[in-house]
Symmetry: C2
DNA sequence: TCTTTTCCTGACCGTATGGTCAGGGTTGAG
DNA sequence: CTCAACCCTGACCATACGGTCAGGAAAAGA
């Protein structure tokens, strides 16, 4: 879209500091919640004085809002897998893979989003009612088309989407619990792949998009 | 177990006040998070002076701990559906129904638990490592037996359990998002039933416990 | 170089929080 | 009836929080 423009030193500093602050804030908000997070904690994690945070982000709420919107954007992009897919096996399969990948790469953002929604979405309610609703209805239409074309069973599209969100985000939001049940170790590359395949297999079989469970021999232990 | 014993007035007062405080705390912790919740807010919701809360519960942490353990106990009991079931259709089916029912009846507790785990389980880590681990391994063994008996496909038992937890708890933890996508209205009796059937259908079909998707005609809108 | 704009931060402020405590009221056993 | 044990609470305290601000340093335009 835009050429790799030459940045003035000031612009570079601003961009870099905002990046550092947002990353620190994402982690602290995820680990302590909005109420439990303090600007001092975020400042320490970012390696900057607290007053400097308030120079870039006027209030705690504004900083939080930016963090929440960031993960939301990432999730919206994951939907590209959904469109332009010939059928549910490719579309939903790719979507599950994309969402699982995000759960692994952005666990903090996922937790912040979960926390925000659980608390009644005080700062992104408008997004839920506009962007998310439109996005959802678009995918619902796609699923309905696949059903009409006989490519999958007549499952309720909304509940299917909830299952996809719930299952994939669970690996980020409840990662600590999964880690504990995994002997206190984070999931390995192999285990993440097994988890993804397991979810894909159950869901795609469950909605009748895959006729016979063929490659279901993915064991963890 | 115990006969309906006669309570002294003091015991009755203590029991009733603890109940009121715990109910208020569950709601406030769910809506504001541990860090965002204040003893004053809980006191107002309970209709008691703040100092009275500290008479029954020494610290905010102790009150919080009691709330978290409460929902954990409820979830453990839901597992009774799992045992003594002849196969996955009855066992897992009943478990899904029980967990969906809990999501509807105890949405606050579910959110408090989710929040606790997301923040690294600071106060119930020992429970995760003992009670939850034992519980999980027990159900894993049951699932393995069903697989060995050819009553379901060889799915990874751990990932299946995660899917059950994620999907059912999603209706409590992300209830606000679901409500927004449902036109701002809470799910009706009919919709809750449809959600439960949808989850049961996809999962049981997905693990090969149900040969053919027969009753998949559950639509929301 | 001079001047303006932006970046940076130590010190500070008002407020709200978790928790305490002294003292008064109530209950029930002996 | 007596009195110890328990229940209750307004007033208070130390702390930590989000946010402000004056003033200095550095960059960029003129």
């Amino acid at each position: 879209m835009s050429a790799p423009e030459r940045l003035s030193k000031r612009d570079a500093i601003r961009r870099e500091n905002e990046r550092i602050i947002l990353a620190a804030a994402e982690k602290v908000f995820a680990e302590a919640g909005f109420g439990g997070a303090t600007m001092q904690l975020i400042a320490d994690m970012a390696g900057l004085p607290k007053a400097n945070l308030h120079y870039y982000f006027a209030t705690k709420e504004e900083l939080y809002r930016r963090v929440v919107r960031q993960i939301f954007e990432i999730w919206l992009h994951a939907a590209d897998s959904f469109d332009n897919a010939p059928g549910p096996v490719e579309g939903i399969g790719a979507y599950i893979e994309a969402k699982m990948d995000i759960s692994r790469r952005h666990p903090f953002g996922s937790k912040v989003w979960a926390s925000e929604v659980m608390h009644g979405a005080p700062v992104i309610q408008d997004y839920l009612e506009t962007t998310l609703r439109e996005w959802t209805e678009g995918r619902v239409a796609v699923i309905r088309r696949w059903i009409a074309a006989g490519r999958m069973a007549p499952v309720d599209p909304h509940h299917l989407l909830y299952m996809l969100w719930a299952t994939t985000q669970h690996y980020a939001d409840f990662g600590h619990q999964i880690e504990t049940l995994n002997g206190g170790r984070a999931l390995s590359d192999r285990q993440w792949k097994a988890a993804t395949e397991s979810v894909k297999s159950i869901v795609l079989t469950g909605i009748g998009a895959v006729p016979r469970p063929e490659d279901l021999s993915n064991w963890t232990s």
